[in-house]
Amino acid sequence: MSWVSILLYSTVTLWLAITLLAQHSRFQSVINRFNGLHVIPRWTFFAPNPGVRDYHLVIRERYRDGRLTDWRSVPVYPPRPKLAYVWNPQKRASKILTDAIQAIKLLLKRDDVGPSGLPFTVPYLLLLHYAAHAVPAEPDAVEFQFAIIEATGHFERELECSFLSSFHSRW
């Protein structure tokens, strides 16, 4: 056996062993520190908690005199195309939104972040930045806030607000 094949066998075996460990929550924080390129995959598809909600962003603004606008929907992704089993680029935007919201939920539970530290995190800033630019500002509005709405059902939608941001300056 050549040294190249010994090296490859060892690397592949180590890769598989670390992949197996990475599936357990106990090892994830350690492994994630060295997994910037996502070389170690996570195979826990739709488990343990399958995504049973759709996520939506909404935004409202506050005028200088304190009045509030109605909530407006922030367009993130169009409905799934009919031929989604062949061509479904829309899934990327919905997955980004889902990932960012899941990250926000996790960050809220962390002692070193929590509600006070959340506005300084990247997932929060991503949604804030996107919401601010995706919906044109109302004339004379000076501040805005966004909310995360969770929904289920195809025809009769059940809606629930799961997160409300602070007000942020428009400019």
Binding site: V4, T19, W43, A47, V76, R80, P89, R92, I96, V122
Partner: protein, 277 residues
């Protein structure tokens, strides 16, 4: 001189790289349809993502690395590499093309941070495996090719087994509520499947347990007689096609099916090692 084992591996490589090429084309085209996400007002704007911790690349280079033009260049490279992989016989382009796809996977996962899914992970695994197998064929080293087969088949076995094990640990799955819950969403659901599932809780529980059971038993494919193993893999392929139809998980089909030739080679090796052949 090509041995019989090498001929089997060459056939495995042709099927695997063709499916990898198809996935590379599809995934790159779908990202190209989403270029607005990378712009200054997009969900993946570099003005925010550059704030991520542990970015080791210097800021001056990072500016170019995160640019929309770089994303386009990487995706075009992935498309060109994917097209070369569709050539239906092993050739010298396989190694650089699979390495190019692998590097594009690393780049996209780093650049996007959010939005990746299991198809991207398995695409990365298959690209790495194809690169190793191609290198083995170039070097005419059976052990090198075998390590590539081990990489792909090992990750495939882990993927299915872990997916099943994670579901069996979940009360939502065990009680059969996962299927109607997911089908009720517009993101991954389907109106017909949702209404069908809503009235049939026993059927939902059966489907959830069928998914858990078959995924957890996937490692047994390595021990099964070849005919039974092929039939099982056909059932798993149907599972992926149904996920594509009902859930819109179109990109999962290609990289997961691409692992099956390596799984069959691993089946042959394991049965040979045990002495069942």
């Amino acid at each position: 001189m090509v041995t019989e084992g090498m001929a089997d591996i060459a056939l495995c490589l042709v099927i695997t790289k063709t499916l990898l090429g198809a996935w590379a084309l599809l995934s790159a085209a779908e990202w190209l349809a989403n270029l607005h996400l990378f712009r200054s007002n997009g969900l993946l704007t570099r003005s925010i993502l550059r704030l991520r911790p542990r970015l080791v690349i210097p800021a001056s280079i990072r500016h170019h690395m995160h640019a929309e033009s770089t994303v386009i260049a990487v995706l075009i490279c992935r498309i060109v590499a994917g097209l070369f992989l569709l050539i239906p016989y092993p050739n010298p382009a396989d190694l650089p093309c699979s390495l190019l796809i692998l590097l594009s996977c690393f780049y996209m996962s780093r650049r996007t941070w959010f939005g990746g899914d299991g198809s991207d992970q398995m695409g990365m695994v298959v690209a790495a495996g194809v690169a190793i197998i191609s290198a083995g064929l170039v070097l005419d080293d059976m052990n090198v090719t075998a390590s590539g087969v081990l990489a792909i088949s090992g990750q495939a076995v882990l993927a299915y087994f872990v997916a099943g094990a994670a579901k069996v640990a979940s009360p939502v799955w065990r009680e059969g509520n996962a299927l109607p819950g997911v089908m009720k969403t517009r993101t991954y659901g389907h109106p017909f499947a949702a209404s069908f599932a809503a009235e049939r809780p026993a059927f939902c529980k059966f489907v959830c347990w069928l998914t858990i059971g078959t995924e957890m038993l996937f490692p047994l494919v390595l021990l099964a007689p070849p005919g039974l193993a092929i039939a099982s893999l056909c059932c798993f392929a149907l599972f992926h096609f149904s996920n594509a139809y009902f859930m819109g998980l179109n990109a999962f089909v290609w990289p997961f099916l691409a692992t099956y030739p390596a799984v069959m080679l691993a089946n042959s090796a394991v049965r040979n090692w045990i002495g069942w052949i």
